[in-house]
Symmetry: C2
Subunit: 120 residues, 2 copies
Amino acid sequence: MKERIIIGDALSIEPSVLNNEKIKGVKKRILIGSVLKAPNFYMRLFVVAPGGYSPYHNHNWEHEVYVIKGQGKVITENKELEITDNNYVFVPPNVKHQFKNTGENELHFICVIPSTADEE
Amino acid sequence: MKERIIIGDALSIEPSVLNNEKIKGVKKRILIGSVLKAPNFYMRLFVVAPGGYSPYHNHNWEHEVYVIKGQGKVITENKELEITDNNYVFVPPNVKHQFKNTGENELHFICVIPSTADEE
């Protein structure tokens, strides 16, 4: 069968709700991943509640992020960088990072990772 | 030198303005590309004016698109699919496609391509 274009409403996807000792108030949706046979990279949508955060960690693959809306910070080893609507963020491989929502509303961002990553 | 996290305001980047016989009213900004040494894929922001469109074409690399805002259509070989805010679009390799702005305001979308593509 010929491959075809797939279109969907990101916010209609049922999210994984992530809350543990390292991550708080994060809803993750895989928009374009292995299910769609994406060959090289996967696109995910993260919605972080006010006060929520992703894990502070590093790994040997990059992130390419686009902030759709909200206010937050990227925590690195030696500083905190502010992010807001229409900011892009390139996290190179092996660099420590954490995304925090410092605003009063949800923080929405797209995060793209290579399909070779140990996550999806 | 250790690689570091790069953050920028997408709309502050000077765009390439694309207008020719195949493409109309398109502003293209490379957010994360070869200049930042992105290893596997590149993130671009496209802003399409009302009535504007990308070329109707195909190529052997995929697109992963996220619509930030606006109203439009994806034209394929046998149908037209509507897109709007928070839609994701997966265009597999070798599938014909065109993005058109059918709304009254600008159409903004992120488009990610592999770094092996013959474009950036």
